[in-house]
Symmetry: C2
Subunit: 137 residues, 2 copies
DNA sequence: GTTTTAATTGCAACAATGATGCAAATGTAA
DNA sequence: TTACATTTGCATCATTGTTGCAATTAAAAC
């Protein structure tokens, strides 16, 4: 889906900053940090504008944050946009990339009596296939 | 285990700030935020000291952070100290508390070819038994 | 195409937080 | 009690999240 369509769907104004952020995230096959997105973005935006664009896109659940070790922040398109189910995230300890594992659904957890779950976040850390290959060569 | 013993085990100096932080976290039956810990702490410590104590305790894996929605930060004793297995965390959307679900082990996820996992973090969001009870009354 | 209106931008400014250098204070072991 | 290494508190700075406001821009109405 094109950035314009996504923005329209939520009645958000089509500004170049928002459109750019969505385009960059869509094009990437991994979650990107704020800086990685800024670098790939055409045009230079004020810090505040950039920050507010993210905030808006998050509020409307177009993108979502993934945090690793409470430091590294990466962004990816949200399920509501990609139409996929709740999925696990994978963080590679080698190359520090984050990927949405669309084929790895979040499992159901059996909670103690009285607890009810609404949503579950799963972050798997390890070595990605890319880095594994490089090690074997 | 007493705070002193924990510090000794890692050859960390027994300072009142470190000891206090560990004591407060140990006494609580839920994960606490930095402010919650500071409030319960006897004595007043400089912002930097407090911050550095946390950093040290985290480095030595005595405590660990749990982040919810990338905003709320809570701390709990680490597995290496409590001797428990990798467990899920539960965040209550009502009372905003975080608990270590020691009885809810992290499940194994089947990753795509080439990926290997080292560690998995699970955060389950929902309603805790306390809040559920209050609603039913 | 022009006008109108509401949302967005860029800027200034501030708060909160993470981080470091350094002298004074403290914990630990000799 | 002394000696040494670590930690503390303070000053200071960088980064990041946030808001108010006037200027600008997007979208809708004409």
């Amino acid at each position: 889906m094109k950035a314009v369509d996504i923005l329209n769907r939520y009645n958000l104004k089509r500004t170049s900053c928002r459109e750019g952020i969505i385009d960059v995230i869509t094009a990437a096959n991994q979650a990107l940090s704020e800086n990685e997105i800024r670098e790939q973005l055409v045009g230079n935006y004020d810090r505040t504008t950039f920050y507010r664009s993210f905030k808006t896109l998050e509020e409307y659940k177009i993108i979502h944050k993934i945090i690793v070790d409470n430091q590294l922040v990466k962004y990816a398109l949200d399920n509501t946009v990609t139409q996929k189910d709740e999925h696990a995230h994978f963080y590679c300890n080698e190359c520090n990339t984050v990927k949405c594992m669309n084929d790895v659904p979040v499992q159901k957890y059996q909670l103690p009596d009285g607890y009810s779950d609404v949503e579950t976040e799963v972050l798997i850390k390890g070595i990605c296939s890319n880095c594994k290959n490089q090690k074997n060569n």
